[in-house]
Symmetry: C3
């Protein structure tokens, strides 16, 4: 007797006269119903409910029925994350597209055909995880398949470039109830307004995924603890978060490469005693890393942050609305550590925006409120691209991140305000982050050692 606990969706659907390519959601739900029927006893010989694996071979699978998971130990696994840039494709002319090899994402690809619901992101989720009672759902695993929201749609403004709106009310995976030891790895999510949203996570792993061209990429909501977001390639739209978490303790955000756009690259709200270490963050706007709502005792360390100007024509009309005195890194909270980071801002003066009367230098690190923050040995570099060579390079390239290739030798210095501690903050320590004239800090209320 071989195991009943491994389901190839194409095999099982064929056996049950279901068309998995027309609606994989209905097939997944039917499989889960069978699993629950077969694994009904809570305890048989020290076991009874081991869960099962749903295997999705490479293919295009429409989803017209939301898949709903309410059993522990379910693994859904495909054989390809399948990302391609739909954003480039939708901003390429029909004439050029004619000659393209392929136009859609691929791999083990779930096409989210749900109507989408901006008011309730759970409604528009291809996969919804929810269960009441005890214990929490344990050890759900999602691995190496693709969830594609297909199109963005017009927002209220009725603008013509609807595919650039990052809005469609669709979600990749929404976990609504408390969960333990969930594992999301090697996934691809594209063109969903919300990529992965997880409420009330404990010991969560989000590792080595590719979540890009989504309105928001990863959102940890409710509350949570002791989790890990690492080794991912991520980039949200200009209205959303690449990584957001709230009410969390012990979150490790490490070794992610977070590219534009993203209203924020990382936004932590009321998050405590967590790490943001060894990441690479790239943004086109101020406010790329925000700790607010009393986020305390976090460590921001060993990260590379780059802010430059949107180089891609189709997106140059849009930004997150923040001005350049806002700060690249902004803290409202206590006892945080910002140590050994590199912050680069490479932008030409005509793109900088300031409130009337403000210091005309962009801000790197700002302590908006709070005390006991420790900001040491961060290296802050400002440059402008006003040279012939750099302009030529920028205009020659098709993609969105070309400015990252310009070297300092092709640039000129841009004066920056390295660290600002506002009057609302006191008793903070700032060491070796800039010369005296590059700091805006009340020396009587804070401890400062400027560079000579």
């Amino acid at each position: 007797m071989h195991s009943h606990n491994f389901y190839d969706v194409t095999v099982w659907a064929a056996e049950h006269q279901l068309d998995v390519f027309a609606d994989i959601g209905a097939v997944i739900n039917a499989i889960i119903a069978e699993i629950k029927q077969r694994q009904a006893q809570v305890d048989v010989k020290d076991g009874g409910k081991p869960g099962a694996t749903i295997f999705i071979p490479a293919g295009d699978y429409h989803l017209k029925t939301q898949a709903v998971i309410d059993v522990s130990y379910l693994k859904i696994v495909g054989t390809g994350h399948g990302f391609t840039s739909s954003s480039i494709r939708f901003n390429t002319t029909p004439d050029e597209i004619k000659h393209w090899h392929e136009v859609w994402p691929g791999g083990s690809r779930i096409i989210n055909d749900l109507p989408g619901n901006q008011a309730d992101e759970a409604q528009g989720a291809a996969i919804l995880v929810e269960r009441s009672g005890n214990p929490r759902l344990s050890s759900l695993e999602f691995e190496n398949f693709c969830i594609d929201g297909l199109h963005f749609v017009a927002d209220a403004s009725g603008r013509p470039d609807v595919e650039n709106t990052y809005e469609n009310g669709k979600t990749g995976i929404y976990i609504a109830s408390a969960n333990d030891s969930t594992r999301i790895t090697a996934m691809g999510v594209v063109y969903c307004e919300h990529g992965i949203t997880i409420c009330d996570a404990d010991a969560l792993t989000i590792d080595n995924n590719f979540i890009a061209e989504c309105g928001n990429c990863i959102e940890l909501r409710g509350s949570g603890q002791a989790s890990k977001i690492a080794n991912n390639l991520i980039g949200a739209g200009y209205k959303g978060y690449s990584i957001y978490a709230c009410n969390f303790g012990g979150l490790l955000i490490a070794a992610n490469n977070i590219f534009p756009r993203g209203k924020s690259s990382i936004h932590l709200s009321h998050v405590t005693r967590s790490n943001i270490t060894s990441n690479r963050l790239h943004s086109f706007y101020p406010g790329m890393l925000i700790l607010d709502q009393g986020s305390s005792e976090n460590l921001v360390e060993g990260n590379h942050l780059l802010r430059d100007h949107e180089p891609w024509a189709p997106m140059q009309d849009y930004d997150n609305g923040l001005k350049d005195n806002f700060g690249m890194v902004v803290i409202s909270g206590d006892n945080n550590s910002v140590i050994a980071n590199h912050l680069s801002q490479c932008i030409d003066a005509q793109y900088l925006k300031f409130p009337a009367g403000s210091d005309p230098r962009p801000v790197a690190i700002k302590v908006q409120a709070g005390s006991g923050n420790f900001i040491a040995t961060n290296h802050i570099v400002g440059t402008t691209t006003q040279t012939a060579e750099s302009k030529a390079l920028a205009s020659a390239c098709f993609n969105t991140q070309v400015a990252a290739l310009l070297t300092t030798q092709q640039l000129q210095a841009l004066p920056m305000l390295h660290v600002v501690v506002t009057a609302e903050a006191c008793a903070n320590t700032v060491l070796d982050c800039g010369r005296a004239e590059e700091l805006s800090i009340d020396l009587s209320a804070n401890t400062v050692r400027a560079l000579p």
Copy 2:
């Protein structure tokens, strides 16, 4: 002809009239015997012994015979790490449990039914790896299955809460002989006294596993070099190590989220030229990170360490016995680097323990012995939870790590001794880790720059 080198344990066992659910160990051993018979020639056309894959679909598999591996290139792979909190379950009343959806771990789950042997942990291992002669065993891979020790049992004290003892003489995987390029990924191990124990490792990978509620989680014994423990979620019992290594050079411990309890989160004994970087460590006791036995030239950098008080009633009677002058980080060795870490201690005065006559401040970093250690730009934060809001939060929550959610605004300052260098140590350098009164260092024997 298709490959003979892929074994689904359920298919192969059925073909051979074996009950894999009753004893998967006997099935694995029989498969290995077949592999060795089929792959008997050392060199046939530039090959001959490629190994094989043993596939374990989701299911509950009892193991009554120890699985013994003595061939290279064997991969055992399942489809789910299957962790659930047995600790919460065993500390829940029978009445409440009645209504639970499930009570046991799941996924591809091996239930270790061996008798257990505390005197010889290899004896109680579900999987034992051992081979004499040359070369060393190469490229064993263990991936994405669960090993469950099922129960902890009474220790000598005969205490009633046997399931909280973290003792049963059972081990998940024990590698007894020298090995090269072993790979342990996406595994789950639960309720074993020893999770993964590996002797004489070279170029080992332990990545992205979930090893928790084990007496000890990861132990590297004998000696070893050039290995990696990264991206894991780990948490040992109050008697054991979350990560232990001895006689090792070039060990990279990075981006792990190590939660309580753990006698130590990381204990390195005679380990040299290794990294502990970008981890998050959380412990309920002093001594959470120990480098001893002359551990030298290691880099402890970019880690977040939190020590607070055990909030969970069932475990509040137990700790590791160390007093608060012991130190959160303790070094006996030379030329180590402790740079750019954040250390938080959040604990109320009544829980602190000191030897008679000692300084009544808990110690963050202690150089117990050695010279040439370099301790710079670490941020140390002490707080107490003595506010109404924080007490309410702590009492309202069921899980073990709630204090991590308290923000500094809900706390009061706790004076700490930031760095202690004992009289046995000299010629160490301590920079920017605290104000003069927060340091206990002989300034004539060491180099110190205090914060102003």
Copy 3:
């Protein structure tokens, strides 16, 4: 109907009367031809070209025809990275080998039998990826198989130890054309002159691979952006790079364990705004980390670097030709950050080489050219092994990295030049990296704070 998009090479080859063990390259090409025929339509119901998976069970597969990939979303996946040390095997006497259990690498092993071509490394690649037109190839995935170059061959000098030359004109995977979201994970590559070479990468992932005993391991050529090399075990030959990248922006190199030998451990040429964080680097020669050709605004942080002397007799005649005034870390570029690293050099005086008249101290960090570099809180440790205990340890061990196990207590101090800023460089900042006598910096042209 089950999916047609999953190919077991052994099953498909048998169905098509092909011998996959004699030439897996021909089988892969035939499968790709079938995929292209089946997936010919660019857009059918929002999809049409999802790609496919080629599954390689464990086994020895000769490759006599280069596999050529020109479709997106193709995944090639095996069940074992299969590394073993061919270097130890080829330096063991035939008498000893007689008693070995196995002599070749294993797992899902592709034996690259192509003739090899040192003039054109694409020609000698087991797998060549190339496609013209648009869009770029997306989401190729290579996972958990082995590519073995089998033998190194004599170089021009006609030396007898041909297996130590690291030259054979063979490549594991060569990606020749622009590609997006490629994923290379859990692979093994051994005894190829070039392991993985990728041109024009965007959003590339190279994670958790084992690429060792190759002439070069990972080379990113052409240009590229927003990519990640993380969690790998890597070690090149004495003539090659462990990691090389050029013309790249936003490369994250994190948590790799890079062992000897490697002409350089990491060499970045005209690379900007990238991270080298949380790695462990071990080398036997100077020049282990090089940023040149105007590499700018990069962050080198939280790494452990060890340089010691080649302990293994068969390789002691070879090195990379650099002298000890070259530097362990060498920068020619602007505005880079080198913060919070640990650098150890453990070597006896008789092995050090200097140009006539130069300072007889080996150099740790050198700014060869450039301005605005920020070098802070790096800990530099020099030792020699001239004690009886350490000599005994070194002579007793068979492997290549024993010196890493010596503790400082077994060593004596070796004076080092901690930081050198040459006369070609100016306006750099060096803080807390050594005492005044350990720095060679023009204080009038740079900002320096020496340790007291």
